[in-house]
Symmetry: C3
Subunit: 437 residues, 3 copies
Amino acid sequence: MNKKVCNTLKMIGLFLVGTTLAASAQEDGGVSLEMFTINNTWMMIAAALVFLMHLGFASLESGMTRAKNTVNILFKNTSIIAIGLLTYALCGFNLMYPGFAEGSSGIFGFAGFGIGAEEVGITYNTGYTYWTDFLFQAMFAATAATIVSGAVAERIKLGSFLIFSVIYVGFVYPWLGSWKWGGGWLDAKGFYDFAGSTLVHGVGGWAALAGAILVGPRLGKYISGGVKPIMGHNLPLATIGVFLLWLGWFGFNGGSVLSADPELVSFVLVTTCLAAAAGIVGATLISWIHAKKPDLTMALNGSLAGLVGITAGADVVGIIDSVVIGFVAGLLVYISVVFFDKIKIDDPVGAISVHLVCGIWGTLAVGIFGGSEFSIVTQAIGVVAYGAVAFTSAFIIFFVLKAISGIRVSEEEELIGLDIGEHSQEAYEGFQIFATK
Amino acid sequence: MNKKVCNTLKMIGLFLVGTTLAASAQEDGGVSLEMFTINNTWMMIAAALVFLMHLGFASLESGMTRAKNTVNILFKNTSIIAIGLLTYALCGFNLMYPGFAEGSSGIFGFAGFGIGAEEVGITYNTGYTYWTDFLFQAMFAATAATIVSGAVAERIKLGSFLIFSVIYVGFVYPWLGSWKWGGGWLDAKGFYDFAGSTLVHGVGGWAALAGAILVGPRLGKYISGGVKPIMGHNLPLATIGVFLLWLGWFGFNGGSVLSADPELVSFVLVTTCLAAAAGIVGATLISWIHAKKPDLTMALNGSLAGLVGITAGADVVGIIDSVVIGFVAGLLVYISVVFFDKIKIDDPVGAISVHLVCGIWGTLAVGIFGGSEFSIVTQAIGVVAYGAVAFTSAFIIFFVLKAISGIRVSEEEELIGLDIGEHSQEAYEGFQIFATK
Amino acid sequence: MNKKVCNTLKMIGLFLVGTTLAASAQEDGGVSLEMFTINNTWMMIAAALVFLMHLGFASLESGMTRAKNTVNILFKNTSIIAIGLLTYALCGFNLMYPGFAEGSSGIFGFAGFGIGAEEVGITYNTGYTYWTDFLFQAMFAATAATIVSGAVAERIKLGSFLIFSVIYVGFVYPWLGSWKWGGGWLDAKGFYDFAGSTLVHGVGGWAALAGAILVGPRLGKYISGGVKPIMGHNLPLATIGVFLLWLGWFGFNGGSVLSADPELVSFVLVTTCLAAAAGIVGATLISWIHAKKPDLTMALNGSLAGLVGITAGADVVGIIDSVVIGFVAGLLVYISVVFFDKIKIDDPVGAISVHLVCGIWGTLAVGIFGGSEFSIVTQAIGVVAYGAVAFTSAFIIFFVLKAISGIRVSEEEELIGLDIGEHSQEAYEGFQIFATK
């Protein structure tokens, strides 16, 4: 073959290689622009779904509490998403994903204030842009405070709660998150938490526990040694909340794959949904047997329990495992709700039982069902480490706030309701509502 | 270089540009990994949207009935999604898509208990993974029982309904589904049902009819020869339900393309939305003319009627056809609601009219508007075959349950409401609600 | 040609086929089928999210008004989406995107009645199909009338409002839209409005102002020189509405990129969400300071204010700019609500303040923050041009309707509520609701 032809063929070859590099062919871990675009699209949709979880929390929490405190709960949840996004842009994102240097202790890092993309597009990450990364993680961040909101509902001072949220979402959550997802010391140890049974739900749950202890039970909840149930005022609203949370979990867990990987994302969605379903069955059965009647709020909390439980290992456990994990979580949430009432820690919506207890269960479950590369001891170390620091941090913040400005509304305000007390507004203007509870 | 080689190279060059521009060349039915990923992502999103329909049903059904039965309806709908997912994993999926062998009668097949992917990724299907397939179809499955739930609301025994749901969703729905979507005998006959006017809505609607007949009308509904309207207690909730159902239909119909095919999916979404819009107009006009006032619940049911009507042929009818189909469905739903009240079959939410009547209309409409490859006779054969077996199956299940444990709550419980009777819970604690209805 | 060359060419050919199977490559602005499919999928999802905004509006408007007018508001919002889709199919789409010819004045064009794709797939557009284009734009169109619905709520005649909606959505909105998005005279002038601060929210807001002026304030709102607040009846419902609207804005702004461009879409989502968050902070702060209590409805309207404000420039302003724009919008919405009450223009849900005032702010903000290619003068010209024609058009339509059939219900009907008056239905059957307000 003559030289010229050879060269032409070579040029075609180079053109080809160029094309396929820009096009698809995954070389050296690279992906095509198409694959990058679909990955990023999925991650943006996942972020939108996690955003919707904040409406889920707002609906669930207000539905599960009394009508007189509804405006207050809705206001807190609306504020939290604002606080979450703004503090995460200001410092949280750069605190959570500092990219620890070689030889760093992996305990604390900070990349400076404010967000802004230095690297763009595919060079930042093959699964999403810088902006998508920020948005997805920011939506997660706000969740931690939302969980607390439920446990301290109906008696916490609004201003104190908002200050707590700013500190906890802006600083504690991202700092603790960096230990694992930021590539910190627990990541190095081999601790595994796929989408946040511990990093999100545990961290939120421990703070919920600290808050519930320090703020104390609602008036009239534990009287003369017994437990007086205080029923939620709007169970359709609570149900809307739970279904939206479940839907949001498609993004919470599905997005935690960090790409649109067809096999892995779809598998995660199946384990996630089966665990939720099994959680409903577990919580329904135990409540039906123990309390003689099938309790709707338990069925709802059962689905959330299953979802929190599967979150740590949704990608590494098997199908049957996911059903077992969800079912056990459903049992646990019931037992836990009864237990916390017994030790007189008042949690109006069962947030501690759902997020903390089932978060611990899910994290340990990775060690049980996740296969030989996971160690239940390492998982337990992670649970304890997070618990110690998250609980202590939240306890200190609430304790200081209590000392300075108080964290609980007056007895008079609690009786009349925080809607009138904190907002001079009523949630259901014109409706006749009994003031007796 | 000689001329011929030059020309050949040039042709190759042109071929390159042409090919890469139009791209991805599907050979041997194969698709690129990128195309597979986007197809699968769309299908997962469609599954999420169909999941949301269960919140839509829960909201619609509880909003359209009385406050005293709200917890019960919410509990049923929460249970149904759990039952649907778990039974479909256990046997439904393998019953519905057995892949009938050559020469099989195509009436019954079963691929064994439990799910698990033998083939992964693109080799399973070019449009979605095994797991996505399961999830999408499982979300559909639960719909059948949800439709029944509305028709028998406010008087059916919870336990009996749950048992019915397990059998109907776990066995009857997937078995009947296999006749068409599993490649069974009706598929071989040329029967067409794009997304389930008959396979989902008809199968659910026939069971709703069987249940409504056997459980009988609510107390006080048909008195002294007349019909006493029993109004829903929360129309904002019902409206939320309908809009979420419509949104869910983006996945129900859009996902039934089984890929992200740009032209086909977007066309299907347009026919779907136009039919829903025309259904609103049809139902509003007839109710405004006949009852003198524009009825909100009719407008809402009109949109659902249009959606059910377009479901069988959303991909094969034209734009104007879709408007006609939706408009006629809107008229039909009103006429049907009046008709079933006349023959004293009590259906609190109009489920039979929406899902069965408009499901039949939509299935036949494929024969009318779908073009020459579709036969209205074949469509009618499908409608009759499904009707005969679905109605009979549901009738037998309810009949046996009635004989064994009863399917209707006591008169006393019906009057006080199923929320107190079955759950010892109230949906709206603290609200003053008239007990008179 | 010699054999070796032939073989080499053949190998290249095979390689080509392989590559193009895996492949894509963008030449001459063309995109691969994969990229087209993902672009189109994102646009369909965006359309679905914008659809959901109509549920958001329905929930927000009914929650912010009195229980006795709820059915009426829900009915209007259900009708508007039907009207929007059908009129946009009949003429709106062809009026808004006529594709002005060279030398046309760019003021009015019409491509004929009815929709139907002449060009299919990628040849129509690299970002979406003809059908996706129609659906996305149709969902936008209905928004204009929905904004009006809120401002004239609780006293407008249903029939007159529906006629207004048909004309305004079917003709005025698409005609005015063509000036910019259809490539008309304002587009030629360099006016910029990314996703519709003026084209959608302004056009809706001006009509809301015209309607509110002509229909007059609600009975009892402005008495003896003072302003009597009329509270919304269901703030959880209003909150659901606002969160759904925010979610819808992921599609409203994110979809306005008109492709799935990873960098641009994700950046737009970040500016959008930060503006919404900052709007909450702005509106909360000013209401807390000025009215002494943090007002939930102000926080909710603050988020919408931020969203409307960022809509015109979400793709061209910076991160900090987006926070400033949202924060200022949050302040503005509060000031504006107080102002309109002072001049006795009664707007039950604050629609004029949110959509018109913040729409103007957002449009001008492009000139302030958008960089040197944007001129605040040009932006102001656009605002004035749209304002003059939109306000005048709406005023004329309402004026003529007022002269012919009246636009306001009788005093008696207003007192008893439009639900009974227009629909003979109640939204909350069985609930005890005070009739005093």
